[in-house]
Symmetry: C2
């Protein structure tokens, strides 16, 4: 199987439409049909169920979609890591660290300071990304190391070290009746009819259905809470330096959040190893 075929199949499986997929790939529709048919012939199985009104995935097709994405990520990672290795050999070596925007601010600052103080430290490019994006960056080679947050992020397939565990707090408008309470139960916060939980975008940019307002970053979130249009449950460290009009109330029965540092297995980078050591020694 060639990566071209996998890319073609993934495009069709995602669009569920040969025409749109072909457009996305920048080719015409017939070669795309042929390529997928060839894949099916060589695998000896149907991957897509064609009706005259579009396309659906078969069971084998669903498996291949998942596996092909992983394989294409691995190929992309190979290309990117090789490029970066070549760059590091001639120019200035760097490490790319992925972190969720608006999270772990203080920990991140301390980590960068601690690492920079080490002998032989190289430049660290910090990539701030959306929730759940860190794993993708690590998988496809755009990042060398990442800060993840269990249980929200999926750490499967990486080597990790735990850095820090903390409880969660509810962020409420200071004027809200619940904000005077010493602590809250999770159930009390998750279905307040007047203060729905906001909806975060999926990695593809779409939003899940639901009653809450759509938010894209931490600023929007605090603003919406201050306006009395939403509430949120966030790790304690996300409640430092709250703006006027917001209150943080502990939620003891919310799952604890562990910040972990993660890197691809078999990473041979000494810089990543030093960064991990600096992180665990914090």
């Amino acid at each position: 199987m060639e990566t071209r075929e996998l890319r073609y199949f993934v495009a069709v499986a995602e669009e569920l439409h040969f025409g749109r997929a072909a457009q996305r790939l920048g080719i015409a529709q017939p070669p795309l049909s042929r390529a997928v048919a060839g894949l099916e012939r060589r695998l000896g199985t149907l991957l897509l169920e064609r009706s005259s009104r579009g396309v659906t995935l078969t069971g084998a097709g669903a498996v291949l979609l998942r596996e092909a994405r992983a394989a294409l990520d691995a190929v992309e990672a190979a290309e990117r890591r090789t490029r970066r290795a070549a760059l590091a050999a001639t120019g200035h070596p760097t490490v790319v660290l992925a972190a969720k925007a608006g999270a772990s601010g203080e920990l991140l600052a301390k980590l960068l300071d601690a690492y920079a103080a080490e002998p032989g430290a190289v430049a660290v490019d910090v990539v701030l990304c959306g929730p759940g994006e860190q794993a993708r960056l690590l998988h496809d080679g755009r990042a060398d190391v990442a800060l993840l947050h269990r249980p929200f992020d999926d750490t499967a397939g990486f080597d990790t070290e735990d850095l820090h565990t903390e409880g969660q707090v509810a962020i409420l408008p200071a004027a809200h009746p619940l904000s005077a309470r010493p602590h809250l139960r999770l159930a009390e916060v998750t279905d307040l009819p007047d203060l729905p939980l906001p909806r975060w975008p999926h990695p593809d940019g779409t939003f899940p259905d639901g009653p809450g307002p759509q938010v894209r970053d931490h600023t929007q979130l605090t603003q919406l809470i201050a306006l009395g249009r939403a509430c949120a449950v966030v790790p304690e460290s996300g409640s430092t330096g709250l703006r006027e009009g917001l209150t943080a109330v502990p939620v003891p029965d919310a799952p604890h959040v562990t910040t972990v540092i993660a890197w691809p297995p078999h990473s041979h980078s000494t810089a990543v190893a030093a960064l991990v050591r600096a992180a665990t020694d914090l």
Copy 2:
């Protein structure tokens, strides 16, 4: 990057010789030279240092070799898992379990029994393989789940559950003076001039250099020890039912061995999940 190019590069990087690599690939040497040159051109870096006497890897080349192997494994896994998904949909679904030949015999038997007793259990193909081969099988899709042994096997990149931990014992000829001792220190066993540790083959079939005899399986090992030509340090469970003339002596300071069950992250197979559950409930 196409998988063809990666396969070609890996062949050259492993052989360090364009001619032999071409022969292995079943093509002529000139197209191979061109393909690698094209890869280098597009990556903008030298991957191989050519001298008139053979070839050496550059730093970037070493990175690409490692990454390309992982990527090709992922592509192979995609193909195999799709094939198996198609098979499972029409015929009889199976799970492939990889285990080291001659290890964990009793645990494996109990696991298979426990799983077979569960409702909805599917057929389990047990693949017995050489030391360290299980991870490869899991990576490239030939196996769905494996029994590994820490710290010998590399569990990086898999989800795992610990099953069993045990100490190690030295296997000695009954006539050897040390066999009467109640226990031994590891250092006492590892450099006995009269009983060297045997050499196990690498995954590629070659043997490391050293004084000990070459062995390929457990039978050869016990035979050599009985002949007074070698000794070995193995997990306790590997010493049950020893043949006449062999003695097992505990080695308390040898690292403990943990048998773990491992599977690829993001496995969606219910059969694998049931097998893991049966294993942890043993």
